[in-house]
């Protein structure tokens, strides 16, 4: 897994609540059996004026000039600032794959859908939760060229005027993301515990263990 430690990056605002994973990456792109290459299709229906199809070349597609990520001042953005319940809907991990492939390494919002939130950590994308008031303040401060510095070790965001915001994150998740650890390898350290659990459970619920 990709590690995340520090990031100073350009911020792009997506001023909508309840942005769902169908919007982040529409279903036709879910037919891919690979993990890479979703970036050009991120927010496809909002970003382009035509209809996207898997494996198409996006370089000459007509862009929607009103969509925020198409505006020149947000090119190269690495931090997405957005509203509550971001990533709701389908469990598709293609959503963080697309965000990461596009270049976003961090998201800032007042809340996230649970599954999406989990999926981000598996892909080196840091979803930061701030209060609605803090998110409001960032939206109103945002100017062309607005950059934030994020430090996961310190759990801080530093704004252009030098103000420091602290954010909370589970210790376990922070540790895994800082070090880019392989979750499966970590769990397999407890292989003996898993086997012991299976034994005692088989005694309580034998009907779940008729296969082995």
């Amino acid at each position: 897994m990709k590690a995340f430690t520090q990031l100073t990056g350009l911020v792009a605002p997506l001023d909508r609540a309840n942005v769902d994973t169908d919007a982040i990456i529409p279903k036709q792109f879910l037919k891919s059996i690979r993990r890479a290459g979703f970036g050009p299709f991120l927010f496809d229906e909002w970003r382009y004026l035509d209809r996207g199809e898997p494996e198409m070349d996006c370089t000459h597609r007509p862009l929607n000039p009103d969509f925020v990520l198409n505006q020149p001042q947000y090119q190269g953005a690495a931090i997405l600032l957005t509203r509550e319940n971001f990533g709701c809907g389908s469990s598709r991990e293609h959503a963080p794959w697309a965000l990461e492939d596009y270049g976003f390494r961090a998201i800032i919002a007042p809340s996230y859908a649970d599954i999406f939130y989990n999926n981000c950590f598996k892909n080196g994308v840091l979803p930061i939760t701030l209060t609605s008031a803090q998110v409001d303040a960032l939206f109103s401060e945002l100017r062309p060229g607005y950059r934030l510095s994020i430090d996961l070790e310190q759990q801080t965001i530093v704004t252009p005027v030098g103000e420091t915001l602290r954010f909370n994150i589970d210790e376990n998740r922070r540790h895994r993301l800082l070090n880019g650890l392989d979750d499966i390898a970590l769990t397999l350290r407890y292989a003996d515990k898993i086997r012991a659990y299976e034994q005692q459970r088989a005694a309580r619920a034998p009907w779940l263990f008729r296969d082995a």
């Binding site: 319940n85 991990e93 589970d170 499966i184 296969d211």
Partner: protein
Amino acid sequence: MAGKTLYDKLWDDHVVHLEDDGSCLIYIDRQLLHEVTSPQAFDGLRLNGRQPWRVARNLAVADHNVPTDNRAQGISDPISRLQVDTLDQNCREFGITEFDMHDIRQGIVHVIGPEQGATLPGMTVVCGDSHTSTHGASAALAFGIGTSEVEHALATQCLVQKKAKNLLIKVNGRTRPGVTAKDIILAIIGRIGAAGGVGHSIEFAGEAIQALSMEGRMTVCNMAIEAGARAGLIAVDQTTIDYYRGRPYSPKGADWDAAERYWRTLHSDADAIFDQVVELSAQDIKPQVTWGTTPDMVVAVDGVVPDPEHASDGVKREGMRRALQYMGLQAGQKIGDIRLDRVFIGSCTNSRIEDLRAAAAVTKGRRKAATVKQVLIVPGSGLVKRQAEAEGLHQIFLDAGFEWREPGCSMCLAMNADRLEAGEHCASTSNRNFEGRQGYGGRTHLVSPALAAAAAIAGHFIDPAELPAEEQA
């Protein structure tokens, strides 16, 4: 010490290891796999030379991409075909049981799990699909996961999870005639909002919930995710026990007796404490129709499209304005005046036998409105289809000018050939009305099967009880 909630009991029963920060290694009793969210997980296993921890606890089925007509000819879209073929190959390579496209047991993953008894009360159930919450109808702790977690569950039979909070939603009293499980859950989402359950596991209780069949309970739990909750739960009672007796994967003989004893303990203790409680009166719930682009944008069928100017805050107002524009609707417009282009009856929310019976009861002896281009009836599984045909339901639909299809997700998310054209309005029994969900530019209205059938006949939304009798043959 206070008693435990149903969620607490299920959680405690599956903890393998507790970390210092409160996160837990949770044992997974059943994983369901489908073609869309599994290929990269199998790649990960191969890349790291790993094998499934307990291969028999996995069950696979292709549902999202499969065609719902002319199945004998295979899948014409080469990209969809590759994904379905990839699932077949992965299951063969790792020795996982799969119901392939030609198996009578094939169907939507959340329909076939309970139908086969492959997901049972008291289990932890995961699937790379958010509507895994469906299986909570039988007091299984069931939730959707991403592809990395699919790989993790395959390789370790466990997941790292943090315990959610407990939210109790009580629907008191009995519903009025004509009000279904779908209306109950839409009304709940309308009340608490699309993010109302974030961070919580919801237990649905109260007389109106207890009165539901297992199918109805599945409809309710299916949409717990649309209220932002990861899991929905309903306590075990006689209805649950009766449903699971004799299913192919259900326990047999002495195992059954032991299982039944355990299952009967799967309810919240009387003195359990919930973090939050929401109560609704079943009497107040009318048949529901969504007007917007999130499931909480919902009103009664006899209501009107709400006015964004009355929204409580700016973000909401903007969301409502955008939704009205996308949906091509005006504030104050009567729901009954919305004209439908297509109707879809299916999806893991409403494609079980009871749903088809409800739709057929409204349809019987009537015909599709000439202005409605297409009415798709897509059963949830091959077995549901067979049962419906044995009851003659398919004939009622065909006589009405509806299309009777093969099982799959179909127009719920339009990954196969079934989809809306831009600007079309669709009455749909599915669970998501997001922009573009049923096709680029398509406009989805979520409703119950009875309401969808009534809309197909009238050409606009109408309470089935108000369909003119003269249309009856």
